[in-house]
């Protein structure tokens, strides 16, 4: 079996060329295509902030966020294309968060918005799975960090193979039905601005993945569902939700 680092893919129709042979994305055994820390960004879609409404002006917040609000999807949450997302009995439903994954290529700290995209190696699709939680006051570790709650992939599209990341359509399908649709044009901080504002206070390193954010009203899915996150020009990430077998 071959383990190539670079393959040719058609991000639109899911065709993959490996060792000169064409195959379908579902016929390949995928690994997680990134290796560094995965940072999620909260409330980076205009609609996500709108959904909170006047709540942002009240306790416990009690003001809209100023700096990017980040969280970490630790390594236990990572999953590849096709890996099952296992829901324990306590978890009735999860939200399927369509996130553009910005894969960092060079060490970057304190970069300007104008130069920020130079540090980007490419882009990938991330399904930022979480249990629904109304309060955003405390870090949602239990809701966001269960094993397998962060499928990534199937591949990273090199930055120079992409046009601008600032108007990419995102779609979530549950069992083949369109469940949500949005676009990175609705980001409060578009990709370059987000990188600039994050690296104002911390370094991003090669392999790290910064998620541009998750749109408002993420669709919910349950055990037995098959979910697909598509990002225009980047790819489509499919995983099935399964119920944990009682032991």
């Amino acid at each position: 079996m071959s383990h190539p680092d670079r393959i040719e893919v058609d991000a639109t129709d899911g065709t993959v060329r490996i060792d000169g042979r064409s195959t379908r994305v579902g016929d390949v055994d995928w690994d997680v295509p990134t290796r560094g820390t995965v940072f999620g960004t909260l409330l980076n879609y205009r609609g996500a902030l709108t959904v909170l409404g006047n709540a942002v002006d009240a306790a416990p917040y009690p003001a809209p966020p100023i700096a990017p609000v980040l969280y970490i999807k630790p390594a236990n949450t990572w999953a590849a294309w096709g890996d099952p997302i296992v829901l324990p009995p306590a978890v009735a439903a999860v939200e399927i968060g369509a996130a553009l994954g910005i894969v960092i290529g060079t060490t970057v700290r304190g970069v300007s918005e104008q130069e920020a995209l130079d540090c980007v190696a490419g882009y990938t699709v991330v399904n930022d799975v979480c249990e629904p939680h109304a309060s955003l006051h405390r870090p949602a570790i239990r809701e966001r960090c269960r094993d397998g709650f962060c499928p990534i992939g199937p591949w990273v599209i090199a930055r120079h193979e992409m046009r601008s990341p600032d108007a990419l359509k995102l779609r979530v399908l549950v069992n083949g039905e369109l469940a949500a649709e949005n676009t990175t044009a609705n980001l409060i901080r578009p990709v370059a601005r987000l990188i600039a504002d994050v690296t104002e206070f911390m370094t991003l390193s090669p392999g790290d993945v910064l998620l541009a954010g998750v749109p408002e009203n993420s669709p919910r899915a349950h055990a037995g569902d098959r979910v697909r996150v598509e990002i225009e020009g980047v790819g489509a990430l499919e995983n099935a939700l399964t119920a944990e077998r009682s032991s």
Partner: protein, 257 residues
């Protein structure tokens, strides 16, 4: 055994405490002052998960008023924030309140999934000291404490030693102290943790898998005061180590640029 990772004459070495000096993996004995100290943690294949606790200490003096939380407040940090013993941490010029936090750090030694409290210590490789600095000016109440407060580069000194779990008789009864320029500003005991080590390992592993090299920073007692450029901050835990750090201002960075 007390283990360290150090740079000596431009090369990276594993080392152990040899009674005031360091014995390198090459067998050589060197002076502690002659090495640069890295976090005493073996590299991991994937980024280690670093858990840290929000308020996790009961203050005996305020015991009647203290209402114990029902669930621990846990946040995550990334490896960009770790630095070693005797290094420098930057205090931004616009910050009005930056404080240290002396914390016992637990290093996981074995893959842990649904571990019981009774079995939890079997998953601990060892212990070290962490200083979990915070810059309160940047606190925002979304997923608080937010990463801008807690995940800044170099804001979590850790070390100097990883002390083997077998060498720590009772990690829940260790003296803790912090000194700023030699004056004691914080005192406590790990015995005053609200959620103890066994609970935290059982709790976290109840919903996620812990891996070797993962860290749990278990929180800090009362006694936090502000620090300023030039301050030498020493966080010490009895039997584990004495971690030295110096606060520097923004100019330390611009000089290097």
């Amino acid at each position: 055994m007390r283990r360290a990772r150090v740079l000596w004459r431009g090369a990276l070495h594993d080392a152990c405490d040899a009674g005031g000096r360091l014995r390198l993996d090459t067998g050589e004995l060197v002076e502690e002052a002659d090495v640069a100290w890295l976090p005493p943690l073996a590299p991991t294949e994937r980024p280690r998960t670093i858990f840290a606790l929000g308020p996790n200490y009961a203050d005996p003096a305020k015991e009647l008023a203290f209402k114990a939380p029902e669930e621990p407040l846990i946040f995550l940090k990334a490896e960009n924030t770790l630095i070693g013993h005797r290094e420098q941490t930057q205090r931004p010029a616009d910050a009005t309140y930056m404080h240290y936090e002396c914390e016992l750090a637990v290093v996981i030694g074995r893959t842990a999934r649904r571990v019981t409290r009774a079995d939890a210590y079997g998953y601990v490789a060892g212990y070290t000291v962490a200083n979990d600095y915070a810059i309160r000016d940047y606190l925002e109440n979304y997923y608080a404490p937010n990463l801008r407060v807690k995940n800044r580069d170099g804001c979590t000194p850790i070390g100097p030693w990883l002390v083997d779990a077998a060498d720590v008789r009772n990690p829940m009864n260790l003296r803790m102290s912090t000194t700023v320029n030699g004056s004691v500003t914080q005192r406590g005991s790990t015995g005053d943790m609200v959620f103890d080590i066994a609970f935290l390992i059982a709790y976290l592993s109840s919903f996620m898998t812990l891996s070797p090299g993962d860290l749990i920073l278990t929180g800090t007692p009362d006694g936090l005061v502000g620090v300023h450029p030039g301050d030498e901050v020493v966080t010490e835990i009895g039997g584990i180590g004495r971690l030295v750090n110096t606060i520097v201002g923004d100019e330390a960075l611009s000089e290097a640029a």
